[in-house]
């Protein structure tokens, strides 16, 4: 009888029999290892949580009373028969790839990742392994991200144009990760940065754990928009065009997402402007990361899984699709993931 594989893909999530734990499970289990705090990876109802020190505060903020423990990047833990460590995934602050080793065989579950340095998250580090579990949200050759400074220039030019025209610039973005990354790209000389409550709550948590963020002003019900001419407002996509947003009078809306690379999606969803910026790897980024792991076996969890897997197999890897409930960058999420 062959021994159990190090990680298996079950109804509840990615499972490690040797350590009796799950990685980012989507149903309640006793012990969960969490790659990052987005809601499709860090779900409610687990007996205990293990995540990086930088992931814990936001996770606690979102999930309330949980039994959770923090771990540093690179710190090795023995859980049952498995040796476990967390390594930077570059996706959002605190995000990790989880390395699991049993009897010399190494799996890496990467959660969501990007390979460029966003100046905010600890940059992605490739981890050598035999088996690599990857996403493929943007796993098509049409996705190629411009460098962050180029997008920042577009973003600031648009903001300055709005400000000059006496309009408030609204930018739709996820509350965790994307919002703070955009804040770091904005030029504070143009005007004040206002934030929706959902974004500011996350900002508060991140600042409290020592992450340095640009100055922001909470745009709650008590704020008078007239006091902040030339402002840019960062809000979850669902808040764009709401009664709250209408209070700001003349405005333009922009949307920041990797999906904005596609003209069709941009026209359907972008409002006035789309900015191509993503916390997921683009096509070349995915392939670079996979090559760097030196893994032979690739498990593709979410995104353009069929196409990406076929390409990997054609190119000499041993790749397969594994169904999960991760959502990647979900432009149409009703709630910020």
């Amino acid at each position: 009888m062959s021994p159990d594989p190090v990680l298996t893909f079950t109804e509840k999530g990615i499972y490690c029999p040797a350590g009796d734990f799950y990685i980012d499970p989507w149903r309640p289990v006793d012990r969960a290892l969490i790659t990052h705090a987005h809601s499709d990876h860090a779900r409610w109802g687990m007996g205990s949580y293990l995540a990086t020190h930088d992931t814990l505060p936001v996770m606690r903020h979102r999930l309330g009373q949980i039994t959770a423990e923090g771990v540093a990047y690179g710190e090795a833990r023995q859980i049952g028969g498995a040796k476990v460590s967390f390594h930077p995934a570059g996706h959002v602050p605190g995000s990790a790839q989880i390395r699991v080793e049993v009897a010399g065989e190494v799996f890496v579950a990467s959660g969501d990742y990007k390979v460029v340095n966003d100046g905010l998250s600890t940059p992605f580090e490739p981890i050598r392994c035999h088996h690599f579990i990857t996403e493929s949200t943007f796993g098509l050759p049409v996705f190629r991200w411009s460098d962050q400074n180029t997008v920042a220039a577009e973003l600031n030019a648009w903001w300055a144009q709005c400000a000059a025209a006496g309009k408030t610039a609204f930018l739709g973005a996820y509350a965790l990760g994307k919002a703070q990354r955009l804040m770091s790209m904005l030029d504070p000389n143009i005007g004040p940065i206002l934030t929706h409550t959902a974004v500011e709550n996350t900002n508060t948590v991140l600042r409290a754990q020592g992450i340095k963020l640009a100055d922001t002003i909470l745009a709650d019900a008590s704020l008078n928009p007239k006091d902040h001419p030339g402002a840019l407002v960062i809000a979850p996509p669902s808040a764009l065009g709401s009664a709250w947003a209408k209070k700001f009078g003349a405005q333009e809306t922009g949307f920041a997402s990797g999906w904005m690379a596609l003209r069709g999606v941009r026209r359907r969803r972008a409002g006035d402007r789309g900015f191509v910026i993503s916390d997921h790897a683009d096509w070349q980024g995915l392939l670079w990361a996979i090559r760097k792991t030196e893994a032979e076996n690739i498990y593709v969890t979410h995104g353009y899984t069929d196409i990406f897997t076929r390409y990997l197999n054609d190119s000499g890897w041993n790749a397969q699709v594994v169904p999960t409930q991760f959502e990647g960058e979900n432009l149409d999420a009703e709630e910020p993931a």
């Binding site: 596609l262 359907r268 196409i307």
Partner: protein, 532 residues
């Protein structure tokens, strides 16, 4: 091409009409005249002759990008636009030079006579020098189909702003058969005496749907009613001893409907009729259904057998030009009187028939008539104000379409597929089934009818409730019931269910309806018996 690219980006990025018109007005005021002429041509669906096949473009793009062809094709299926897929997949451009729009168009046209190798060298070189939007637009010049969200109406408004000429006149100038090769910016737009092209049609007037019934229209005395025919809207032009047939999409269809040539025998030169093309057998008392017409659509050369099986006539309901004079400003009742006298005494074999008007005293009488529309193979009624001029475009107020309510059936969603282009990351293409005993039998697909918010909701649900994948298609748990609306039903041996629907779409998401209460195959067959 940078100037044109900037115009395109402004229009493409904005959802605001005023911003689009302002950008166009500025462009029409200061861009190069030849570029302006081409811009008007491109935005109204005219394009240079295709010099390179799309098959070659795909092969070259995959080769230059260093990816297998299947991967390029799969990406194209998701992006939904070949020009865009190529522009995104190719490596970044290495250098830049700026040439005018017309330079690129002329260079592409010069390619029609050369070998594939020479074409390839040229295209690859262009891909290396053009970046971003310019590269996309260059590809569009080859593949055609600029859909930029600029209606003819907005373009005419901007042209009017830039030239000071009235919109209606410009709309007419832009109709018909012109091509940038045969005209100039000056003679098309500016010259006092617009060149008289015998084939030039008038802009069509389009009706608005009457959602809440006709009582809001006021006194029935002021209105005229006709059937709303289920055919192809067309304009028949008889001038200088020749005839021309135009579709509403401004496509010249003269050769597709050779039987209409005989209209010359029955009307004087300088006659333009607006009407509906229908398949109507000489001895029949109503038109054949739309399926018969479908056999003629898209057939550029019509075999004799088909001409006999599916003879086409135009049902005329308006007269736009009479004895060489544009009479669009006369009241409808007067144009109609002229049309009736012009059609008086037409033999039964003539390819033109007068579309009859219905007399009615009250809206209720008209409502009773509308209820019989399906049996007459029509889509409902047209209601037109008696004293209205023939306007252009979809202007609200004078012409109304009072369509029949569609047929509907409650069905279960069983397969879902992601859309492409605008809807690339949403599940939008669904297959629906009805009950046959304990089995669900698929009978139709539908793509439209839900709001964006509903598509987002169902997309999230599909992701979590996929039972099996067949390539891009996902089999989902039978759970959601939708009300499917459609315009007609036909027997079909090609479908498992034995029926084919006309224009199916999702009318409502019946979240209130349990799975078991969806309709059955027997219900569908009963509809086929009554309406098929």
């Amino acid at each position: 091409m940078k100037r044109f690219a900037r115009l395109f980006e402004t229009i493409d990025q904005s959802t605001k009409t005023t911003a689009k018109v302002a950008a166009l007005t500025e462009y029409f005021s200061d861009a190069d005249p030849v570029d302006k002429l081409w811009t008007v041509a491109l935005f109204s669906g005219r394009r240079p002759k295709r010099a390179v096949t799309t098959t070659r473009l795909r092969e070259w793009a995959a080769e230059v990008s260093g990816i297998p062809l299947w991967l390029f094709e799969d990406s194209y299926a998701i992006v939904g636009d070949l020009a865009e897929t190529i522009a995104l997949t190719l490596p970044l451009n290495e250098s830049q030079k700026d040439q005018t729009l017309s330079y690129w168009i002329n260079a592409l046209r010069a390619l029609s006579q050369v070998t594939d190798e020479v074409k390839k060298t040229f295209v690859l070189d262009a891909w290396t020098t053009l970046g971003g939007t310019e590269r996309f637009l260059f590809n569009k010049l080859i593949t055609g189909g600029f859909r930029v969200g600029v209606s003819q109406k907005l373009m005419t408004r901007a042209l009017s702003n830039a030239t000071g000429k009235p919109e209606a006149e410009l709309a007419h100038r832009l109709m018909g058969n012109w091509h940038p090769d045969d005209t100039t910016w000056h003679s098309l737009i500016e010259a006092e005496d617009a060149s008289t092209d015998a084939s030039r049609p008038y802009p069509f007037y389009l009706a608005h749907p009457l959602e809440d019934g006709p009582t809001m229209l006021g006194d029935p005395q002021d209105w005229r009613a006709e059937w709303k025919w289920d055919g192809i809207r067309g304009q028949l032009i008889l001038r200088d001893g020749a005839h021309f047939v135009w579709s509403r999409g401004e496509e010249l269809m003269t050769d597709r409907f050779p039987e209409l040539a005989r209209a010359i025998d029955h009307f004087p030169p300088g006659t333009v009729l607006d009407g509906e093309l229908l398949v109507w057998h000489p001895d029949a008392d109503k038109p054949a259904n739309f399926n018969a017409l479908q056999t003629r659509i898209g057939r550029k050369k019509v075999p004799k057998k088909l001409l006999a099986e599916a003879p086409v006539v135009i049902h005329a309901y308006d007269l736009l030009e009479w004895q060489g004079n544009d009479i669009r400003n006369l009241p409808f009742s007067e144009r109609r009187a002229l049309l009736e006298s012009a059609c008086a005494g037409l033999p039964a074999t003539a390819p033109v028939k007068l579309s009859p008007q219905h007399t009615f005293d009250t809206w209720d009488t008209l409502g009773d008539l509308r209820a019989t529309a399906r049996a007459e193979h029509t889509e409902g009624l047209m209601i037109k104000r008696a004293d209205s001029p023939y306007l252009s475009g979809r202007k609200k107020g004078d012409w109304w379409k009072w369509k029949l309510d569609p047929l509907t059936i409650d069905a279960v969603m069983i397969y879902a597929q992601a859309g492409s282009g605008r809807r690339a990351n949403l599940f939008t293409d669904f297959t629906f089934a009805v009950w046959n005993g304990n089995d669900l039998v698929p009978f139709t697909k539908a793509y439209s009818g839900l709001t964006d918010a509903e598509f987002r909701k169902i997309t999230a649900w599909v992701r979590k409730n996929t039972l099996q994948r067949f390539g891009p298609v996902r089999q989902v748990t039978p759970y959601h019931v939708f009300e499917i609306a459609f315009e007609g039903i036909q027997a079909s041996s090609r479908h498992k269910s034995g029926v084919a629907l006309r224009f199916p779409r999702m009318k409502r998401w019946r979240a209130d309806k349990p799975l078991q209460e969806a309709n059955t195959l027997d219900d569908l067959n009963e509809m086929l018996r009554i309406y098929g």
